[in-house]
């Protein structure tokens, strides 16, 4: 902890949380999925959810996205209970091959979000160009998803999410299917993009290193049923760097703590 200067913690401040889970339980039929989830997430916070399969990470994310209602308890956004998808909350799916429309080009896929938002046709073109430029796809506007690599397809999805101008970005293992190099490039891309906005991010991942590298807080969950086991505060400086951040003693300390914790949970 010596050289890391702790950032003021958004959730610790007096401001009410942007997103809050209160006594959330969920069951699929007879099977309990989530138990007693209480979690508050502040404005502009980057929270990573980690835990083994079956701990309900994705279920939590779908609740914030309004795709799923909890069996009991409530999820609130900006003080109101979430009852369905909201314009301010955008959702990035893990499987890019199933989240993009294969019959639309990169530009067409981004356009879908603008069409849904009712943006006049004339204003769409420049907006699409700007968004695709932002995610580094300026030269691929007219390519179909099948003509793009996995990383590029995921960039299209990022652009489509940004087109919504969300204040909350929900990401469900977005880089899980990508190779290591692409993955690191996209991690930095996401950090760069959200650094300029005040976007709040909830990021689900299997990868503990990724969680520490990206997050302000890492929430570790136990499986069967999913419960919050422990919350780790990440005090590493921003902007983060793939080399120096990952070599930082605090990074290594957190990494060790999380790995020990997960190993403990498995025994």
């Amino acid at each position: 902890m010596t050289s890391a200067s702790p950032l003021p913690h958004p959730a610790a401040s007096a401001a009410p949380p942007l997103i809050a889970f209160r006594g959330v339980n969920h069951d699929f039929g007879q099977r309990p999925i989530l138990r007693d989830i209480d979690l508050a997430i502040g404005q502009s916070e980057f929270v990573c959810l980690v835990g083994p399969s079956g701990c309900g990470k994705t279920t939590l994310l779908r609740m914030v996205g309004g795709l799923l209602a909890p069996s009991s308890g409530a999820v609130s956004f900006a003080g109101k209970t979430v009852t369905g998808p909201a314009r301010e909350i955008s959702f990035m799916f893990q499987d890019y091959s199933k989240a993009l429309l294969p019959w639309r080009t990169a530009a067409g896929n981004v356009a879908l979000a603008l069409e849904a938002a009712g943006l006049p046709f004339r204003e769409r073109g420049p907006r699409i160009a700007e968004l695709l430029y932002k995610v580094g796809l300026a030269g691929h506007t007219d390519h179909y998803p099948a003509q793009l690599s996995g990383g590029m397809q995921q960039r299209v999805q990022i652009a489509r999410c940004l087109a919504q101008e969300p204040s909350v970005l929900l990401m469900d293992e977005p880089f899980g299917a990508l190779d290591a190099m692409t993955r690191q490039a996209l991690q930095d891309e996401i950090l760069r993009i959200i650094a300029t906005s005040r976007t709040t991010v909830i990021f689900v991942t299997h990868d503990l290193d990724e969680a520490i590298y990206l997050g302000d807080r890492v929430v570790a969950l136990y499986p069967n049923p999913g419960r919050i086991a422990q919350v780790f505060d990440v005090t590493l400086l921003r902007p983060r760097n793939q080399l120096t951040t990952r070599e930082h003693p605090e990074f290594l300390r957190l990494r060790r703590a999380l790995f020990d914790f997960i190993a403990e949970g498995e025994t």
Binding site: G65, G66, L67, G84, P85, A86, R87, I89, S90, F91, F93, D95, S97, K98, A99, L101, P102, W103, L112, A113, E115, A116, Y144, P145, A146, Q164
Partner: protein, 253 residues
Amino acid sequence: MKLAKAVVVPAALLLAWEFVMRSRGIESDSLAPPSQIAVAFVDAMLDGTIPRRTAETLRAALGGLAIGGGSAIIASVVLGLVPPAARLMQFSIEVLRPIPAVALIPVALLVLGFGYRMEIALVAFACFWPVLIYGHSAITNIEPQLIDVSRVLRLTPISRVTKIVLPAALPRYFVAFRLATAVSLIIAVTVEIASNPQGIGHELMAAAQSLHPDLMFALLLWIGIVGWGLNSLLLFAQRRLFGAAGAAVSASP
């Protein structure tokens, strides 16, 4: 080269047929040598019989296809998106579907009389089922994540159908229409042979009954060509329309 190989067997058979008929001096009311069939074909083409009869058959077949297939698209979207409707209709569909369209010829004749109306109605009945069944499964098999995408983006129900559901199901609908096109031709010709005094089927029946085997075989050959031509046309259109999307489906892991 490929074409030459494909033609070898039929050409040899035709030659043998011609040779046997001529060498034995067969005079038949039910069989004609290929040379006479070819002459009859050219004559029927030139005097306008084949073009006129073909137009009649195609009008009935494609009209029925449009009505039956079109209403099946609407029905399948409703059944696909409203599960209670599918459960409600399941029994009726399973009872009605196995009825052979040709078994309805007497009913259609009684209600609608001779002509296009009864033929189109029967073709429409026959074409309705394959498009309904294929379309319904196409809609229910749409990638659930695409539906999630449409929910997260808050598309209106109409946009959801026009921008996500129908484009995603379109390739399967096209396959259903190809099947239904073949069905439409079969039913149209069958109805013409059985009762309706118009179209290629009727001409074929008339040729057989007036003991003109050459014309009969010429018409048979022509029906084959028309069916093959329609299917090739649709295959070509399918490749042109869904080439990119088809590649996308096969390229995704």
